[in-house]
Amino acid sequence: MAGLVPILLALLLAPLLLGVINRTKAFFAGRQGAPVWQPYHDLRRLLGKGAVYSRTTTWVFVAGPVVGLASVLAALSLLPLGGQPAFLSFTGDLVLMVCLLGLMRFVTVLAALDTGSSFEGMGASREVTFSALAEPPLFLALAILARKTGSLSLTGILGAIDHGLWLQAGPMLLLVATALFVIFLAENARIPVDDPNTHLELTMIHEVMVLDHSGPDFAMILYGAALKLWLLGALVVGILVPAGSPWYVGWPAAVGGLVLVAVLTGVVESTIARLRMHKVPQLLVGSLILALLAMVLGAR
């Protein structure tokens, strides 16, 4: 039953991360800002509304948010938190987790294309391009960790990153964590890759794909995005916070770490400008290079 706690924590607290990011950005802009619980109110409001469907859309459009949310929920069950084991754990589950995230993106892209709007097709094209570039560093980072810890499951990997490994291979772990943080920003459509606030047609990537969704569908997409933020953030935190402490230290430390990652994201969004579209591949190649450097360090 203890394996259910990470899932419950994610389900309950994931939208909070969005609230923390927005609050940090408000602080930097000198605004009062929305309360950190605002994403919960948004979700409740959206769930109370009805959905509007265009006549050109088919069942694919309706299935997009549902399958997307389902796949990120399935991925969550593989995620260990605070050094404690995940709900499900088996050899090679890290590949399945990345695949489930890929499936989530795939159905979102299909739903966007199903609307028949050239506008959403453009966003889908950009999303797919950048995520194709973000996937190699993600896999490489996980592969390095798997090799270093000698385990092929996420529970085994994150459970083996303790104080001893930090003392032995600190620079390598730091590089992997940095690479994963860049991927975290790119995959969750944050600045410097994408601006989650913009609704300008020429700049947006992720937001444009979900323009036609409304009501409960949009709530599912928002909630799925929050869970994905939690999931990838938990990977970064899992490396940075050494495992090996009991649950009453591990879980609060992990949740605290995630809030810090959210604050850091807010700081990044407030201090860095969004990159021009053709500069984004350079950033993602940069994270691949950080991972390669870590691989070289770890392979010695």
């Binding site: 600190g170 620079p171 730091l174 350079q282 940069g286 290079i289 450097l293 010695r300």
Partner: protein, 216 residues
């Protein structure tokens, strides 16, 4: 202590990669300065505790010259020349980064096979030194801007300097100080020459590929 040493070496490698991937001259100069300061800290990572007073002096001089004097000279030059960016490098920035990773792999391969005098404190020291030298050479060959090329020269020297740290016992104090003085004079002369060329012939814009067009 070994951990600090490795972290410093990784830091030096990262500054190299930053220089390979950036297009702004300001970033180049700052990365070069950070690299120089990082190098001077290498002296304090020995196992024997606090180093000799002359080594401390060398580290301090390195820190001041590479972290303050060179950057201010170079910044003054780009300010006066009004050049802010490396415009059209012979090798693109992403390609340079990938070449940098290849060079890093090669440096590791060679560094593991090089017979060296004395005990090397970390098996990363020599590869990092070689990678820094490769980066400097690459910057000189693959960039057009004269300031970047001066930076490349400095980066090569940083690599040689890292070698000096690797074989600390085998290089006398005077030699290290002499090298530092040579570099200082070299950069001084280069910066003044660049400034003069740029003042006489405005349309050059620090682009070395256009220097061939000069005739008397």
């Amino acid at each position: 202590m070994n951990m600090v040493l490795e972290a410093l070496l990784v830091f030096i490698v990262l500054t190299n990669l930053l220089m390979l991937g950036s297009s702004r001259l300001g970033v180049y100069i700052r990365a070069g300065a950070m690299q120089g300061v990082g190098l001077s800290f290498l002296f304090f990572t020995g196992e024997a505790g606090w180093p000799h007073s002359h080594i401390v002096l060398l580290a301090l001089v390195t820190m001041v010259v590479k972290g303050l004097v060179f950057p201010s000279l170079l910044f003054r030059t780009i300010r006066q020349a009004g050049v802010r960016r490396e415009m059209e490098p012979y090798v693109g920035f992403t390609a340079s980064l990938l070449a940098g990773v290849a060079a890093w792999g090669f440096a590791l391969w060679v560094g593991g096979r090089l017979p060296l005098p004395g005990v090397i404190r970390s098996d990363l020291l020599v590869p990092t030194a070689m990678f820094t030298i490769f980066t400097g050479l690459f910057l000189i060959v693959a960039r057009r801007n004269a300031i970047t090329q001066v930076l490349g020269y400095l980066v090569i020297e940083n690599g040689v300097f890292t070698f000096g740290v690797a074989v600390e016992a085998a290089t006398p104090f005077l030699v290290e100080m002499g090298i530092l003085l040579d570099i200082f004079v070299g950069v001084f002369v280069m910066v003044i020459t660049l400034f003069q060329i740029n003042r006489e012939i405005e349309e050059i814009h620090m682009d070395t590929s256009k220097l061939a067009a000069l005739k008397d």
